[in-house]
């Protein structure tokens, strides 16, 4: 008995070995190599002439965050944050809305489902080109109102130079500290309302410490940029959000629809018997049960938006900083400027951003699987 178990294990291990080796080399090995490259001064000339790359520590990273010439990278980071938030919000709300409508036992549901899912079958490149035409300020969507005798829209979509929520990059540590303060205060209030006074006191102490730090301008001294640099939410990003949302909300709808179908009818019936209105059924029964779906959708949409390249490249043509994303900057830095180390540093930062989203999710998934 025992020997056969051992044999099974050996066979299982041997079966897994090729993929373990391949993944170890081609995924983790190359991540490690990229990480190493990002700590050197590697570039095309040095590589081509066969000289060894020199170790420069974190210089590439400090250049990206504080270097005079790398404002493009900082624009990218700000753009990514705003784009990710809006894109996920649009896809989730649109996806859920469509799913709920389709859940009303409408006629021809499968036709609608196919129509809504269809954009997902396209490549982002196609989406980018099509929406580039649609968004053309002088001939696209903007002239639609003129068909019914109205004035054309004036918004310039992906080439708009308008900007909301402007802030100075030098103030970023201060801003982040204030946001953190808000989170801590909120957490303290929640802890207090749940009668966990010890935790509340601890959080309150943290909040007071943060207030002190902010008022003594400690975060401001963390500023490493030598001159003011204005960033903000570029309205041109709306164009990317609409195009990407158009493509991905059908997918979110499919996920939600599957989730809705998974909710047993008995539960809804029970709620209705208890006197819940149709709205109440959704609010208190359906939505809470869809929470895991929302989390999965956020993870999937989040990693798409953080890594987005092709859509923005075809939509904006590459050097449109109003909608620029780190992926494009990485491509240009690596292959147009041929500064491999700087490009690798951007790649590592993108990896970290995605990891922040993915790793906690994977960890909880793994834990729940082990528990099962």
């Amino acid at each position: 008995m025992i020997s056969s178990l051992n044999r099974d294990r050996v066979i299982a291990f041997l079966m897994l070995l090729p993929s373990i080796v391949l993944v170890a080399i081609f995924v983790y090995g190359f991540i490690g190599w990229t990480g190493w490259t990002s700590l050197t001064n590697s570039n095309a000339l040095q590589q081509l002439s066969g000289q060894p790359a020199q170790f420069v520590g974190l210089q590439n990273y400090t250049e990206l965050f504080a270097g005079m010439l790398n404002n493009r990278f900082r624009i990218d980071i700000v753009n990514t944050v705003f784009f990710t938030i809006l894109f996920i919000a649009l896809c989730l709300s649109l996806g859920m809305g469509l799913a709920m409508l389709l859940d009303q036992q409408v006629k021809g549901e499968s036709i609608f489902r196919t129509i809504f899912l269809f954009p997902m079958a396209l490549s982002f490149v196609v989406t980018g080109v099509v929406w580039k035409w649609l968004f053309n300020p002088s001939s696209g969507l903007n002239v639609l109102p003129t068909f019914i005798g109205l004035q054309p829209f004036r918004f310039e979509w992906f080439i708009s130079e308008q900007r909301w929520l402007e802030f100075n990059w030098q103030d970023l540590p201060q801003i982040l500290a204030i946001i953190l303060l808000g989170v801590v205060v909120l957490a303290a209030l929640i802890a207090w309302s749940r009668k966990r006074s010890q935790l509340a006191a601890l959080l309150a102490a943290g909040a007071i410490l943060l207030i002190a730090l902010i008022s003594f301008e400690v975060p401001r001294q963390l500023n490493a940029l030598s001159r003011p640099e204005t960033h903000g939410f570029n309205l041109a990003l709306f164009a990317v959000v609409v195009a990407a949302g158009w493509q991905m909300s059908g997918y979110t709808m499919a996920m939600y629809l599957a989730g809705l179908r998974g909710i047993p009818e008995e539960l809804r019936e029970a709620a209705r018997v208890d006197g819940a209105t149709e709205l109440g059924v959704y609010r208190h029964v359906v939505l809470p049960m869809l929470a895991p779906i929302t989390l999965s959708a956020m993870i999937i949409l989040g990693h798409i938006s953080l890594k987005i390249f092709d859509l923005v490249y075809t939509l904006g043509g590459g050097d449109n900083l109003w909608i620029d994303m780190p992926g494009i900057n990485m491509f240009f830095t690596t292959f147009r400027a041929q500064e491999f180390a700087r490009g690798a540093a951007i790649a590592m930062i993108m990896l970290i951003m995605v990891a922040v989203v993915i790793v906690p999710y994977l960890a909880t998934q793994l834990r729940s699987e082990v528990e099962r």
Binding site: L48, I159, R227, D319, L321, Q338
Partner: protein, 425 residues
């Protein structure tokens, strides 16, 4: 008596054999992989015509055209760099004459000198010295064979439209900003059309050339003009005022779109390289001189800002014999006259048949006159005077400046960029 006769016979035979092998080269065979980013329009037609003629001359050589499309060469250069790093060079590849060649491929010692080809064919006298300087190192080794010449500082317009709007071709940017631009704006016409980021950088170099003069402009690249100087700040200021006279949707347009605005009468002027002549002629079917006309960009009369496509022989090329045959063919007047009328560019070889109006239209006749008489400077936006890293960083500076219009900051950034990328050393 017999011995000398025999010797002379052997000599004659050897000479004859040598000539045969030199001329039709039956011994050249195998694959020849030609790497370029010529994948569309006249460029592709020109390359294909070259390959066709080459295959007639060397039937034993199997030509592989591995062109990479897109990104005006960015994608191709990415592939090329990867292949060179991986030890898998193509037999020959396209590269812009100047720093794009020198700062990377020559600097890394990856190119074979081609002086013997030049000497064999007598090209040292046929190619202009200014061009040869751009493609050779300090020791006089020449590394590539140029196929064509383009001019960067050209102003395009439609003569009939200008008459209608009551404006003339501005002699300098002062006149453009103070007279031409307001008049055209009054008439509801875009004074100057421009497209996406790189076309703005292209416009910038023409403005810089006008404001700094040929010597000052060259100084940017050899270190004699300080990038942070008030003169360069002035260039950015003028450039900003010029941008105010351009179309607002520039970031949505390609260079073709911008040129088309002029042809369709929606804009008065456009600064673009002379590949626009091919676009006006072939794609839009306009008559040179009537449907479209040209002048040196304002303030650059007498200066020819050039760029040139070239091919070279990388070390470790799989089939160097075939490459030498290809390059020996590429520089001949015959090859230059096959390629350039199709691509819409000037021949680099001065013994090419430029006077033939069947081959070269009125624009090229005139441009060639300028090419041989003007002061020659190299284009920044197209790799002649600055390395890739500078061009990439400069794209950011132009985009940032177009948004914030901070001339002092743009000039300071450019100075820092020049320092970091070794421009002017």
């Amino acid at each position: 008596m017999k011995a000398p006769r025999l010797i002379s016979l052997i000599l004659v035979l050897a000479l004859a054999f040598g000539l045969v092998s030199g001329a039709s080269a039956q011994d050249v065979s195998g694959d020849l992989e030609i790497f370029s980013w010529w994948t569309g329009g006249g460029e592709e037609a020109g390359l294909n015509a070259l390959i066709e003629r080459f295959s007639e001359l060397y039937p034993e050589v199997n030509v592989i055209n591995s062109a990479v499309a897109g990104g005006s060469g960015v994608n191709a250069r990415a592939v090329l760099t990867t292949r060179m790093l991986g030890g898998d060079p193509p037999d020959t590849f396209q590269v812009h004459a100047g720093e794009e060649l020198n700062a990377l491929w020559v600097e890394a010692g990856l190119m074979e000198p081609l002086n013997d080809i030049y000497e064999e064919n007598g090209w040292l006298d046929d190619f202009p010295q200014g061009l040869l300087d751009l493609i050779s190192d300090d020791e006089g080794n020449i590394y590539v064979v140029p196929v064509n010449i383009h001019r960067s500082n050209v102003l395009w317009y439609v003569p009939g439209n200008l008459e209608e709007w009551g404006v003339t071709v501005p002699a300098d940017w002062d006149e453009f900003l103070n007279t031409t631009c307001p008049a055209l704006q009054e008439a509801g016409v875009t004074p100057l059309s421009v497209g996406e980021n790189w076309t703005q950088a292209h416009l910038w170099e023409s403005v810089a050339l006008a404001e700094l003069g040929a010597e000052g402009y060259n100084g940017l690249w050899n270190g004699e003009t300080n990038w942070a100087s008030p003169e360069v700040v002035g260039v950015f200021e003028t450039f900003g005022q010029i941008l105010d006279c351009t179309n607002e949707d520039r970031n949505a347009l390609t260079w073709q779109d911008a040129s088309q605005m002029v042809a369709e009468g929606r804009a008065a002027f456009n600064v673009m390289g002379d590949w626009a002549a091919g676009y006006f002629l072939v794609d839009l079917a306009l008559e040179p001189g009537e449907g479209f006309a040209w002048a040196p960009s304002p303030g650059t009369e007498g200066v020819f800002m050039m760029l040139s496509d070239t091919f070279g022989l990388p070390k470790n090329a799989p089939n160097p014999e075939a490459v030498r045959a290809w390059l020996s063919f590429l520089g001949t007047p015959e090859a230059q006259d096959i390629f350039n009328p199709l691509k819409g560019s000037l021949p680099a070889n001065t013994s090419a048949n430029i006077d033939d109006p069947e081959l070269y239209n009125a624009y090229f006749q005139e441009a060639y006159e300028d090419w041989t008489t003007n002061v020659i400077v190299g284009s920044q936006a197209h790799g002649a005077v600055a390395p890739q890293a500078f061009t990439n960083g400069f794209a950011n500076i132009i985009a940032t400046f177009a948004a914030d219009r901070d001339a002092a900051s743009a000039s300071a950034s450019a100075a820092e960029l020049a320092l970091q990328t070794g421009v002017g050393r």
